[in-house]
Symmetry: C2
Subunit: 274 residues, 2 copies
């Protein structure tokens, strides 16, 4: 019955006439009017993982790609990879910050596939590398675009991806303090209070993470990582994610007891309407 309601709501031409016979014909056997591949537009929000360019967060383990075998010598080519679970474009599981929190292998695809909004703070971040997204920024976004979906991903577009591979990405001052934009603690609490960050949900950003560079207490990460909530970090190509209506899907190895992993973080949008 729920299935029938969904189909009626969809109202795809050609389905309407068949609703009466649906008891005899499973919903998932009704042909789509176009191949599924043509209905979706998918782009990657991840950088290529390259030891020559990938900035390593201070204290993170060494990242090495090494040729292990070659076609000429061995018949096939592959590299040996050594990297921390939070190298390059990657996601973080609750256990990354929460003692006893869920590890990657205890989450499901439902936790990694989320409706997404993109908050554009490139102008503010260009003017102030310590800029933190405010409640006002989020309210203004909702006035312009409608409510941010519950249990969604809130992606901050700071413009930092253009600094990838240069010292301006880490952006350390003379005292070694990193300066990168992020989310204010108040804004994140507001997202939690409204259920955007609920049982599920994510913060995402095109910097090392959602915390300001100058916050060495990681307070935003500390309140984000709870229940089944995740973080998406070192993103790029955010022009391909629309402000609303898209989804993010995290594609990565799921390690036993994983704290997250490098991977392809995909933006999925409808190719024909939103």
């Amino acid at each position: 019955m729920q299935r029938r309601t969904v189909l009626a709501g969809l109202g795809i031409a050609g389905l309407a006439g068949t609703v009466g016979t649906m008891a005899a014909r499973p919903a998932d056997a009704i042909p789509l009017p176009l191949p599924l591949k043509n209905l979706l537009s998918i782009s990657s929000l991840s950088h290529v993982n390259d030891p020559a360019l990938t900035p390593i967060f201070p204290g993170d383990p060494e990242f090495v790609l090494e040729t292990a075998t070659t076609v000429a010598a061995d018949g096939y080519y592959l590299q040996y990879v050594r990297q921390g679970e939070h190298t390059g474009s990657h996601w973080g599981a609750p256990a990354h910050f929460q003692e006893g929190g869920l590890t990657a292998d205890r989450l499901t695809v439902d936790d990694l596939f989320l409706p997404a909004v993109r908050i554009d703070i490139r102008e503010q971040a260009a003017a102030d590398a310590d800029y933190a997204i405010t409640i006002d920024d989020l309210s203004a976004f909702e006035r312009a675009n409608g409510p941010i979906p519950a249990e969604g991903a809130v992606i901050a577009w700071t413009g930092w991806a253009e600094r990838w591979g240069t010292p301006a990405y880490v952006n350390a001052d003379a005292d070694g303090v990193t300066h990168q934009p992020g989310f204010s603690v108040e804004a994140v609490r507001w997202l939690i209070d409204r259920g955007v960050l609920g049982e599920r949900g994510a913060l995402g950003i095109d910097t090392f993470g959602p915390d300001l560079g100058i916050d060495d207490t990681y307070e935003v990460s500390t309140i984000l990582f709870d229940r089944r909530r995740i973080s998406l970090e070192n993103l790029t190509n955010l022009q391909s994610l629309p402000p609303t209506g898209g989804c993010v899907l995290v594609g990565s190895t799921i390690n036993r007891n994983g704290s997250g992993a490098p991977g392809a973080i995909y933006a999925i949008t409808a190719a024909v309407g939103r």
Copy 2:
């Protein structure tokens, strides 16, 4: 104009009446009748990557997960990962077998998002671990399910995933020869001749790879890896991929000069019709 034809073909109720005004209203501003997330069903076809269970292909480099930092000692938890690019559930780029072939960083999402069919040979493989999919198997599949999409992924469901973590996965005989089912060379040539494996396309399987275990010349891999064609290996959960109408999306780190990588290989299907 093409956009308009696509939308007319889609025929989503409520859109039909707006087609006449589409010149004034961009197609991507027309609301979907349901949130995108609710239109898609996504499942992972990848095993958890676990040194205690993941079978290592003979000759592949060591796979180690090591705790690098902990919340108690460092404020955050992460593991250091050392593995070959073809460990666990993973994909292979043309350069894996083709001298001068494209590496992972020279492919695009279009090469990693493919319409997929699933060929069920569990019965044959249970009876004969050296069973190779024949042209007849593919023809019979097409008679029952319609043509295999051009530039698609052909996924063999052998049942081998149930052997994961046991010696029966490698299935070596007394002489050390591996016995696993796969594709016959003739069947792969047939797929190439018909454009299923064209500029793009993939073979996928729930074993170490598309070659029979007893073929130490890797002839199937040798003809598969060409142009932008890829391989999907060590899959699982293939009951979640329908025989036709679904897509596969490879989610993994893209390494510089990568030969492929471990990752989440997703099955994407329409939640409301196919």
